[in-house]
Structure formats: structure tokens, C-alpha cells
């Protein structure tokens, strides 16, 4: 289980994330909603060790404190992040990108197995294994990024706006794939603007507003909430 306690991040004097405490259990999908400057991406980066956090807060994975660990140690501990800009290696092939994801010592023995799992989640990647990622479309690159994170056999998978730039069909496929990932026992923390589809597969959700947790509830309750409907689900 991933647990953050009173996590805060400051940029200079600007408070980006303040006292955020969340939990994500294995086999659970948790969605984090919020406006575009609410601090969601910063929070994910802080958990991953990419952004320094203030003393006083902590990140705990399965009872082990990994606060202030460098990013590679966080991945080794079992947390993988799919960043918003995807961060794929454009000059490498899809296959090479995926294999690089299996770099953590923990993941190496199960590389072949994990690869099969990723390719069954995203069959298109099997077709395009030898294609250089730079020449792939945005949506295909997104699949490579998610697949690469899955290759590290994480216990917690964090995704920053994975549906960005995906066609409606792929978007539904993505959410179905995430539901399947969840069934394999991985805990998923999802930051999304597509509130409708993400709440549909989520167990619980948090609303982040101006760096704070403004609400926490079951996904079902959140999708019925009037405020959430207005701000995130659109009028229609």
C-alpha cells in the first residue's frame, strides 16, 4: 500500500502542494481530480522523488519509508510513474523502450513474462515493436510509456493524464486496460481530466484544489456530487 502523510511541496515561496495525505491499496484504482494548476502533477512528481518535498511529510510504501529517496530508488521500491509528457526515448524502438522499463533489479527476472503481459494489454505495440518511437503517433507513444512503466513490475502505478491525445476508441481501450492492470493486483493512482471515464473505473477519488485535498470519497459518491459534475464532468 502507498501512503503519503502531510506531503508538501514549495516552489520558492509558492505553495504547490500542501499537507496532502492519500492512500492507494493494491488492486485499487484511485483517481485524483482537480483544475490544471491544482498541484496534481507536482504531487505525483513528489511521490516519485523528482521534486523535493518539505520535511515533515512522508511517503510510505508497504510500511517502508521512502521519503527523500532518489527517483531510481523509488522505482526500485515498486512505484512507477507515467509522466504527462510521456518521456519516451524517441530514437529507440518500441521494444527497446519497453525493455528499458525492466531495468530495476526486482523486474529483471520476470522480463519475458511482463513483456507478454504488456503486449497483451496493448496488442498494437506487438505489431509496432521494431518501429522507432519518434515516428509513432501520440497515442501509440502513450501506450509505449504506460507499457514501459508496467515493465518495472510496480506494485503502484501512477499515471499523469494518460488519456491525453488518445482517440475516443483508444481512450476506452486504455481505461479497459487499466481495469485489467488493476485485476493483476497493481494499485493505480490516476490523475485525469477525463473525469467521466476515470471515475467509472475508479474505486475511490480525491479532489485536489489549490494544493489541498478538498474532498475524498468513493468514486460512486463523487460522480453523483453536484460540484464535481459542474466542474469536471461538464454540463452535458
Amino acid at each position: 500500500m502507498l501512503e503519503t502523510r502531510n506531503l508538501s511541496v514549495f516552489y520558492g515561496r509558492h505553495r504547490a502542494v500542501e499537507d496532502v495525505s492519500v492512500t492507494v491499496s493494491k488492486g485499487e484504482v484511485v483517481v485524483m481530480l482537480g483544475a490544471n494548476c491544482a498541484g496534481k502533477s507536482t504531487f505525483l512528481r513528489a511521490v516519485s522523488g523528482l521534486t523535493p518535498v518539505m520535511t515533515g511529510g512522508s511517503v510510505v510504501l508497504d510500511g517502508r519509508d521512502i521519503t527523500h529517496h532518489p527517483p531510481h530508488a523509488v522505482v526500485e521500491a515498486g512505484i512507477a510513474l507515467v509522466p504527462e509528457d510521456r518521456g519516451v526515448f524517441g530514437d529507440l524502438t518500441a521494444h527497446e523502450n519497453l525493455i528499458l522499463g525492466a531495468h530495476p533489479r526486482r523486474a529483471r527476472p520476470h522480463q519475458a513474462q511482463n513483456l507478454d503481459r504488456v503486449l497483451s494489454l496493448f496488442p498494437k505495440l506487438a505489431e509496432r515493436r521494431k518501429q522507432v518511437v519518434r515516428t509513432m503517433s501520440g497515442g501509440e507513444q502513450q501506450m509505449v510509456a504506460i507499457g514501459r512503466a508496467m515493465m518495472s513490475a510496480p506494485s503502484i502505478l501512477m499515471l499523469d493524464e494518460p488519456s491525453l491525445g488518445l482517440s475516443p476508441l483508444l481512450c476506452s481501450e486504455l481505461f479497459r486496460a487499466l481495469a485489467r492492470v488493476k485485476e493483476t493486483g497493481v494499485g493505480i493512482l490516476l490523475v485525469e481530466q477525463n473525469a467521466k471515464q476515470s471515475l467509472a473505473i475508479a474505486d475511490r477519488g480525491y479532489l485536489l484544489d489549490n494544493g489541498h485535498i478538498a474532498a475524498a470519497d468513493s468514486a460512486e459518491a463523487l460522480s453523483r456530487d453536484e460540484k464535481v459534475k459542474r466542474a469536471y464532468l461538464g454540463a452535458g
Binding site: 501509440e140 491525445g165 475516443p168 481512450c171 466542474a231 461538464g234 454540463a235
Partner: protein, 244 residues
């Protein structure tokens, strides 16, 4: 109604090695219309925009802007004729400030200006896209969405006649989306001709006069959004369900 053709794309193809990214696509763009370019990921939409903006040269076929063949023209020549664009994955100039990133679009080419005039237009455009008070910040501190705003302002500072928007609305929350759609409508009201590549169907319905659907590099449908989005082929290849 037809005010004349701004852009004509005739039988255009683009190959990368053995990959046929765009195959024999033809369409026209009328003055002051908003054209939606939709289709599955990897269907060649961004390649099509790259061909129009001059980032790529077509392998075959002809593209004409205001009747002039631009198939072999360089990107800077096409930009100078009044075509501006945004990029699907934002391209910021990391060592420049936010204001300079916007000003960069207006130094040369179409609507070129300099000095006080350039700075003032950059400021007013930043306000227009909803990014006040960030002018002197390094562009790297902005969120991804704010960087997209900077990119639109950079495209607009050249006062373009044709605007190519590559998934500019992607990643906006429901309320931000409304503002974004209103902004694009305003740009059209100013007389600009716009091509939008989008996956947000609400935006396509409310913005576009016509839509072109691409799949595997070819055009599979063309027409008013409500007809195109009801097309069974489009539903099968792109939407998945009747209402996404």
C-alpha cells in the same frame, strides 16, 4: 457562401521509409471555415498538418495556399504567407522567458514587428489566453496546459490567416474546455480560417463546419460533424461507441 478556397490539398501522400503515413488525401479549405481533422491515433492527422505547415514535403500530390503551389516550400516561407500552428507536444524555447516565447512568433515572417510594438502584442495575447503575471518567468515553471497557452499566443502574434491547432484542447478540464472553445470561436469571428485536430468530440461538434476523418493515412469520411460522427465506418474505426 463559398468565399473562395484558402487551401487545396490534392491527392497528397507522404511516406517514411516503408510507412505510408498519408495516402492520396484531397480536400479543400474555405475562407473563414473551421475544419475538423479527426481519426484514430496514428491515422496521419499530425502528418497532414506537418505537410501543410511545411515541416514535411509531400512525397506526391500538390498543396496550394491561395492558389499558389506550396508543396515544395520551406516552413518559414509558408509561415510568412500567414500560416501559424501549435504542436501536439508543446515546443517551448526553454532558455527564453514566457513573454519572449510568445514574441518569438512575431519577429520575422507574417505580421512581423519589433520593439515596443512586439512586446505589447505579446503581453496582450498572454492576457487573452489567460496567462497574466507570468511574463518574466522562465517558461519551464509553467504547467503543461499553460505552455499550450503560450504556444497559441505565439501562433497568434503573427496575426495568421490560417491557424493549425494540433490537439490544443486536449487535457483541459470541462470548464476550461468551454473557455477554450469560446476562444477558438472568437478567432474565427476575427476572420481566421482554422483546422483543428482533436479527439474531444464535444469540441468538434460545437466548433466545426465540416469534418474530415482519416484512418491509416487515408480519408474515410467527410461532411458535417453530425453526419460524419454517425457514419458506421467512423464509429467502427474511431469512436468505438455511437456516443463517446
Amino acid at each position: 457562401m463559398a468565399l473562395g478556397m484558402v487551401l487545396t490539398v490534392e491527392n497528397v501522400s507522404k511516406q517514411f521509409g516503408g510507412l505510408h503515413a498519408v495516402q492520396g488525401v484531397s480536400f479543400g479549405l474555405e475562407e473563414n471555415e473551421v475544419l475538423g481533422l479527426i481519426g484514430p491515433n496514428g491515422s496521419g492527422k499530425t502528418t497532414m498538418l506537418n505537410l501543410i505547415s511545411g515541416a514535411y514535403k509531400p512525397s506526391a500530390g500538390r498543396i496550394a495556399l491561395y492558389g499558389k503551389d506550396i508543396s515544395g516550400s520551406s516552413a518559414n516561407a509558408i509561415a510568412t504567407m500567414g500560416v501559424a500552428r501549435t504542436f501536439q507536444i508543446v515546443r517551448m524555447l526553454p532558455s527564453l522567458t514566457v513573454l519572449e516565447n510568445v514574441a518569438a512568433g512575431g519577429v520575422f515572417g507574417h505580421g512581423r514587428r519589433w520593439g515596443q510594438e512586439l512586446e505589447e502584442s505579446a503581453r496582450s495575447l498572454l492576457t487573452r489566453v489567460g496567462l497574466k503575471n507570468a511574463e518574466d518567468a522562465p517558461v519551464s515553471v509553467l504547467t503543461y496546459i499553460d505552455q499550450k497557452r503560450v504556444e497559441l499566443a505565439r501562433a497568434l502574434i503573427s496575426d495568421p490567416k490560417v491557424l493549425l491547432l494540433d490537439e490544443w484542447l486536449a487535457g483541459l478540464s470541462a470548464s476550461e474546455l468551454e473557455t477554450g472553445i469560446a476562444l477558438i470561436k472568437e478567432l474565427r469571428a476575427e476572420g481566421r480560417t482554422i483546422i483543428v485536430v482533436e479527439h474531444v468530440m464535444d469540441a468538434i461538434r460545437s466548433l466545426c463546419d465540416r469534418c474530415i476523418v482519416m484512418n491509416s493515412g487515408a480519408k474515410i469520411a467527410e461532411g458535417a460533424p453530425k453526419n460524419v460522427l454517425a457514419d458506421s465506418e467512423v464509429i467502427r474505426a474511431y469512436l468505438g461507441t455511437a456516443d463517446a
